[in-house]
Symmetry: D2
Subunit: 372 residues, 4 copies
């Protein structure tokens, strides 16, 4: 059996090899996130370092100790960043870090670089694996919008979608036709030094019923926080989201019925798998908006650290569109939230179930209706 | 000087008296949130109870002790809820609470009732007051969409908007013409037992620069969690949000310039006042989507607690549109997030400022550019 | 079956009726903690109020909602406190609260009154009940020292001790002879307006193996924090404690052996049931030191709030010795710590046990060796 | 000015070079904690690795990013641990880790090794520095008991004690005569393969008034947790501690008076600098008991992982007495607790002081009475 340790390494390879058309590489191939040349639609940096597990595993097993994964950044070139040290790049964190701390790490952007998400992805790999083994949870994200190319809602069947469909192209859009349109859109801005953003849709199938909390820690609240903590994200919506406000209550409500397996189900799923902050067993789905990358190859007005107005032309590499690379990050954050809530649920509700006719133990057959 | 204690009471009156055209009633008039007959567009419940401060204040001052505000619900009628005890109301928390706990409080919905937000509003009142006194922060929310009536983006000047404009009508939309259209839309569904949702926009002016954190606790992440923890909310977007994905980087970036007061400012504000998870001193603005109220006066298919398919017709009162009532809740949650981050910032960054040319002490003149 | 709700009420009666020689009164008899005249060795205050459960239960069952227990303090007399408002009582929290907050609640001491522990006891009652039902955990505390009267170590058999033995006298010392000596010591200081302190010993039998964490949240660390959070406590020691430093390693080590039931046990228990921060299945035992009550009926030098030196003679009631009343508080805090750790353990370690030969599921027969 | 970064490195050298008679080595000399041959009274391991700062600093300044200090353990020899992998060492964490996790890291003990404290010491160095610069706080710990050698209470003047006195000998006892007795005691057990424990006393001078919280997070509770989280610790007492129970209230109370600088002070300090959970400006002092090291060079009865009774003779290095090495750990944990509470205090109480006659701003002259 593949160990959890390998899962970590395997997951790291996901982010690194988007072009490989498979996220299931062996752990020998793992390289760092933010790695360059992953495809022509992303940055041309050369970051060839490998990750090392420094603690937390023993003979291929996790030991309960925090797992320390070290990913050195060997492609960091101080010289590249001279300009940045002086001028605040528009819509970057440069100014706000200076305002908060009075100092910042110029090389590589420090924590404001999307590189920091590699640590999340490593942890998410473990979470995904446990969720899958324990309850059959499947978390899949994909690109559903790039700039003005919008994947139609009905182009993807949330119950049948596979990882292979998503990874069949470098844009991580499961529909080949729209994937090509998106790649074309990215190529277009790449050539002229501009950038674009888009939307990632994420689904989670077979999530156990009962995850989440009634008040502050509603499942959708935790997911919203997790997604807005990702670099460049500007919006989150679950289920019907903003579009749901166009409907009336009678159009929007999800009617209940008993399915053949004896489970309470909903005919529609505008709730997005969550009602009152708690999962109801239907597929969870939500969308995350990512703004166009702030770093562009065009001249912009800005000010220096010394408060002088200047013009800035950022030289060197930049990402024309981060959205394909955001896909595994979105999956990761969803996995971490669900794993936390699974643990909380087991601790709070499984020691003394009050009504077994209503409460299905985690991992039982009934709790995974969508698998049938 | 008005005490913090009075602020709590005064704030409670906000939620209670939306029809009063003023949120600044004396503390004698405070009544409970969710109170009935507050206007014809909301529920006809009679909840006439007053709130009591049971601990935490002494001679009109808070003492540092937790403030205990008790708001008894005297209009709770067990009889009204007989049907609910049996049948799961579509798109309510009934089912999910049973799945999680195996038991639920049927009367009044327990924690799944929006009534629970009154406790938040009480705390938010204190937070708002401190934010205002310390840094001049002004938090204002308003209804920007009801069903398919959309307030145009340019109808509201975020820098000039006043509380009076918002409270000038029972819909809490600052534009009288659109307010009327929204009220008409609500009246229409109210009459036929249906419901509608909408969008609340919130702005926060004069937020000190430097609030928030670089990674997991980005300011926008905390706001997103806070908003999605509100009952019936389905979406959150900050700054340009989902619409920002239609732009290119060169269109979207907020260029910096030096203003006359010597502050670094941005020409545009698509970032929504937050860059890299940290406030930049520009006005923070975001939107929250609220679904149509789940309780409607129409027959719906559902199942009982005993797993029988049945038809349900919920009798009695219901809210045709919660969006106007959500306005103070959105303000409250924004205030609580900003207050927490203000405290964290003071603790983390004000004891040893490293670079006073860049870091403005909280409460100094420079940190509130928009006030000038 | 007795409901959890009743457990709360029953527990409240513990603290209230120490003279009743039984902690298992019906819930009808529950009164408030800190109640007066509970015996001649405690304070002569009249606090006759009953507690009310305001939320969190439904038809005798907890609903998952926070349980709100209100215990009004009707014996609060402002007049009694005039002096305190001016003068800082030596070794009280009066000065430090003023230093921290600039204001304090003079009547009844606010949060510095031991009355605040009633809320803990209510929660602890629920925790104790769950621990008992789930794993057979028994938590018993008793007075082992009052002033210079020291109960000999071998006077109590930790494995055989019963609640009845402890509650057989108003001093809550299970040995009648030493109990009488302690009561005599308290009577002596009571008469001359002085006070004394002492030590409470607490044992927890049948604690599941594996509770606690390896580093910061060691089980003994959590217990130490819980105990030092009790009013008037000044010290904590687990297992051999301070006296263990008189031994060599070969004298102190607890050798392992296999018992007849096939469990790994220790011949001695100087570890106090915890090794490396994690419970090992042996009886947990620890001691807590409580200083002599600060309020005494003797003239003392002190200063006023206005920084004048004065003499203070505190009139009115005071406790000559809080130690007997601290017994249920110590049990309560132990129960809360163990309950928290039980929940954490179930969440962290029971979903995917790696080695069932070593890890005993919570609630299984083997995990409660001492019960046999 | 010495940077915070250097402080980290300098602090690491403290733990490493106890024989050097100075804790203020340059950062070039920093080596790892738990390093061998530090003196004849500790373990003969050879751990010569240096620590590296991998992130969190930029041009000698901290950047606000977490500081990553890596200390590789190059002296780890799998072969040494073969026996441990099979047999549970008495009074070690071997058994309990297996009970909890079903797996453990045998080499070097994993997290159950005292080596983990090096991470704490690194963080504590930063905390100590900030406390010193901001408020003049001085934290000093020393050995006050080794086995049955007890340093008399009056041998150390808490107000005059210096670091040099403590570091004047390898036992870290400020009294040369008693230090020699302690060293003799350690030498004696070292020769015959046995071990002994002892007590560390810690003082904190010039702690600002007002740190701590009234209920669960009392300052003494946080200190107790911090100390009991250290490996091998079994007890904690603050101020008069367990011995204080021998006194009456009139003997124990600390009377207040006005000092010449206009500060409220106490004549005695049995409270140990904390009243009602909050610091009062007097010197904080507390004691921590450490049991004799569990690893000894003598044959002991135990059981194997496969549940066989066997005799174990642990070969190789071991520490005859950890108490001198615990001294910087105790200081470290005290610094971390005080730093946390300082930050909390600034956030909670310094934004809106209610009564400036009572509340002294952190860092003001008056708040450090003992410095005069």
């Amino acid at each position: 059996m593949e160990s959890l340790m390998e899962a970590v390494l395997a997951a790291l390879s996901v982010v690194v090899h988007p072009e490989s058309h498979s996220r299931r590489k062996t752990c020998k191939e793992t390289l760092i996130e933010g790695r360059p040349g992953q495809s022509r639609i992303t940055t041309p940096r050369k970051e060839t370092d490998t990750c090392k597990i420094l603690s937390g595993t023993y003979e291929g097993m996790t030991t309960g100790t925090p797992i320390h994964v070290l990913v050195p950044n060997t492609d960091q070139r101080g010289g590249d960043y001279t300009e940045m040290a002086k001028a605040y790049r528009p819509s970057h964190a440069d100014l706000t870090y200076d305002l908060k701390y009075g100092v910042r790490s110029v090389q590589g952007g420090g924590r404001s670089s999307a590189r920091e998400t590699i640590g999340r992805v490593a942890a998410g790999a473990v979470a995904k694996k446990i969720l899958k083994l324990k309850c059959g949870v499947e978390i899949l994200a994909f690109v559903s919008k790039v700039h003005q190319v919008v994947l139609p809602e009905d182009a993807v069947d949330y119950e049948a979608l596979t990882l292979d469909q998503i990874e069949s192209n470098i844009c991580r859009c499961p529909d080949p036709e729209y994937a090509q349109k998106m790649i074309d859109a990215i190529d277009k801005v790449r050539i002229n030094g501009n950038s674009i953003g888009g939307v990632v849709t994420c689904i989670a199938r077979n999530v156990p019923r009962g995850l989440g909390s009634p008040v502050f820690d509603k499942l959708e609240a935790l997911l919203a926080k997790a997604m807005l903590s990702l670099p460049a994200s500007k919006g989150f919506e679950i289920g019907s989201g903003f579009a749901g406000t166009d409907l009336t209550g009678s159009e929007h409500n999800d009617e209940f019925y008993m399915d053949e397996a004896g489970n309470v189900r909903t005919r529609t799923n505008r709730s997005g798998g969550v009602q009152g902050g708690i999962s109801n067993g239907e597929t969870i789905y939500f969308k995350v908006a990512f703004k166009p990358t702030a770093t562009i190859g065009k001249k912009q007005n800005t000010v220096t650290r010394d408060h002088e107005d200047i013009e800035l032309l950022t030289r060197g590499r930049h990402d024309p569109c981060v959205v394909p690379r955001a896909v595994p990050m979105v999956e990761t954050m969803a996995a971490l939230v669900l794993m936390d809530q699974l643990m909380a649920h087991v601790a709070q509700c499984e020691m003394f179930p009050l009504n077994l006719a209503l409460q299905e133990p985690i991992g039982s057959t009934n709790s995974t209706p969508a698998l049938a």
